[in-house]
């Protein structure tokens, strides 16, 4: 990386932290610190919602996923706009009217303390680990680029986020997210332009799309119904709907974003605007990955995209064999490139028969490279059984470092860091909110009746929230150490979320719509549902998107059964928050 790249990256990081500290100053009570005094307008809310969901994992892993598996991951987001409509119409007015700080406060008002505490605890565990993955992704980039110790890199990146999030709370999070999204759009927009310009002379965007399509990389929609297929239209629409309903309706990292709205109308519009722009944004990121695939059809890719593992092979016991595999791969890539050119030529000439033969030839050449790549992965595993054998997350990074010009590399890396910081800051703010409101304020705090006691309590609550932010930052950094043992990061986060999202969603759906079901019934149902979801994960090959459906319907069904048997406590409990 050049000096200019380093300057762009460092200036961006310092600028974000300084801007966050500056904009977040002046919060003296919990309303200001956790909810930005409820003064945000809808464009800021939309950007904040998008920036919270789109982490560095999104920008690192998604193009790699398109490179390896095509664009079918897009379908995961098909249920999202429908969830936005449902939440805008139902959850937003309830949360606003009750003036809650967290989604889980509502559960105590509707059910009881144990249900609120169960949901808040599930959130803390899941989101604490997810925050670790959010920090880990860009830390991985630095460790690969510079050979830094991964633990120290995690620590440095996590600390930058903690500084402005602990300092300024929700205000700092919201305002920095606007700046971060600007950097993200600029960085990835520029990368896409450069990728298209990097295609060989004579290969147009249409040619690239034809080649990508024939190789199955533009498979954005698949209507076949298969429960074991991870991404198809039905799992995306139904499973994705439940995921989005749960994530945006019950996950404090998102609920906290639209609770900052100055009115119901602002919060609603913020959610609905997100429902309109999310799918096109994901399409653009996936398309970028598909174009990287086409680029590497015409320019020989490395046999394995993780340069750390490749360097270890070059200096290890199997160096000679590995170099042999690399030579074979280079030769096979040359054949593949020739086949790709034949396909472009046949398509341009409109020769249907030649095009069919060219597609067949290109697919055979691609299969040949895959066999050689599998040999390389087997050697890597033989050299070190604990080595990372999934390189999906390195595909885009490898392209950026190897083929983008000076300055643009720094800009794209800055965009990746901005994405990581935007998600992590919102997650830490939400973890802090839940810890201070649902545990400290609920179980520990005692406010006296003397003059000035309320103001003192407010300052103490802000102090506790800052402490909680720092604690969860440290927890996330610690958990990031284990992330290197997972496969595709974005899927790991989604699978992790799906193990608890369905259950939490079920609790909230019962709370919103089944008024005759009481706290004990829903609490028992939630425990049963969680066992069912974990059993699905351990003992079946059902796609993880369906766990949300299983968890949610189990809570609703079992709580209804328990209530009908007369074992649920019927009356909602009015309680302190």
């Amino acid at each position: 990386m050049s000096g200019l790249d380093w300057f762009v990256l460092a200036a961006t990081l310092v600028g974000i932290v300084a801007y966050g500290v500056w904009r977040g100053r002046g919060s003296h009570d919990l309303g200001g610190y956790l909810l930005a005094d409820r003064k945000m307008r809808w464009p800021t809310i939309t950007i904040s919602i998008m920036a919270t969901q789109a982490s560095a994992i999104t920008f690192l892993s998604t193009p790699g996923q398109a490179y390896a598996d095509g664009m079918r991951f897009l379908q995961f987001y098909f249920g999202l706009p429908l969830a936005m409509i449902v939440l805008a119409a139902t959850a937003v007015p309830i949360y606003h009217r009750l003036k809650v700080y967290t989604a889980y406060e509502y559960l105590e008002r509707r059910f009881d303390t144990k249900t609120r505490t169960l949901a808040a605890s599930l959130f803390l565990v899941q989101r604490g680990m997810a925050a670790g993955l959010t920090i880990y992704a860009p830390a991985l980039i630095l460790s690969v680029l510079l050979g830094w110790n991964l633990m120290l890199t995690n620590l440095a990146l996590g600390a930058l986020v903690v500084i402005y999030t602990a300092s300024g709370g929700a205000k700092a999070v919201g305002y920095t997210q606007t700046l971060q999204m600007l950097i993200i759009f600029l960085g990835f927009g520029t990368a896409l332009v450069f990728i298209l310009n990097s295609l060989p002379e004579g290969i147009s965007l249409l040619d690239a799309a034809v080649v990508a399509g024939k190789m199955g990389k533009l498979n954005a929609v698949d209507f076949s119904f298969d429960l074991s297929s991870r991404y198809n239209f039905w799992s995306g629409l139904i499973g994705g709907f439940f995921v989005a309903l749960s994530y945006f309706g019950t996950d404090q990292s998102q609920v906290g974003r639209y609770l900052t709205g100055r009115s119901i109308a602002e919060s609603r519009t913020g959610l609905l605007a997100n429902g309109m722009v999310k799918i096109p944004m994901q399409f653009a990121i996936l398309f970028l990955g598909a174009m990287v695939f086409v680029f590497y059809l015409f320019a020989a890719p490395p046999v394995f995209f993780n340069p750390v593992e490749v360097n270890r092979m070059h200096s290890g016991a199997y160096a000679e064999e590995f170099r042999g595999v690399e030579s074979q791969f280079e030769a096979a890539s040359g054949i593949r490139q020739a086949r790709a050119r034949e396909l472009v030529k046949a398509h341009r000439e409109g020769d249907g028969a030649a095009e069919v033969r060219a597609v067949q030839g290109l697919r055979e050449a691609e299969a040949g490279t895959k066999v050689i790549r599998a040999d390389a992965v087997a050697l890597i595993r033989k050299n070190d059984p604990a080595a990372q054998t999934s390189d999906t997350n390195y595909v885009f990074l490898s392209f950026v470092l190897g083929h983008l010009p000076i300055g643009i590399v720094g800009l794209v890396l800055a965009a990746i860091f901005a994405a990581s910081m935007s998600s992590t800051s919102a997650e830490l703010n939400a973890l802090s909110s839940t810890t201070s409101v649902d545990f400290y304020k609920r179980f520990v705090e005692r406010i006296g009746t003397e003059e000035g006691a309320a103001a003192a309590a407010g300052r103490r609550e802000v102090l506790v929230s800052r402490g909680a932010t720092i604690f969860w930052g440290a927890f996330a950094i610690g958990f990031a150490e284990y992330a290197s043992r997972l496969g595709s990061l974005i899927e790991a986060v989604n699978i992790l979320g799906s193990l608890v999202y369905g259950t939490i969603l079920g609790i909230f759906l019962v709370a919103f719509y089944l008024k005759h079901v009481g706290g004990t019934a829903v609490f028992a149902a939630a425990l049963v549902a969680e066992v069912a979801v974990v059993a699905c994960f351990l003992f079946t090959d059902i796609s993880f998107l369906w766990y949300n459906v299983v968890g949610c319907l189990s809570v609703v069904g079992v709580s209804l059964v328990i209530t009908s048997l007369g074992k649920g406590t019927p009356a909602p409990v009015k309680a302190r928050t």
Binding site: P81, I85, A88, A89, G213, L218, A220, R268, L272
Partner: protein, 40 residues
């Protein structure tokens, strides 16, 4: 003030806004279905 009394930040009603988001989804799915088949 009821929820429907609180108007969207720009012209129109909430049901209209919900319909726009839904129709946008339908249009995107149709567009991406065409896209998939066009380059298959």
């Amino acid at each position: 003030m009821s929820d429907l009394d609180e108007r969207p930040p720009f012209r129109g009603s909430w049901p209209l806004l919900y319909a726009i988001v839904f129709l946008n989804l339908v249009a995107l799915i149709a567009l991406f279905t065409w896209f998939t088949h066009a380059f298959e």
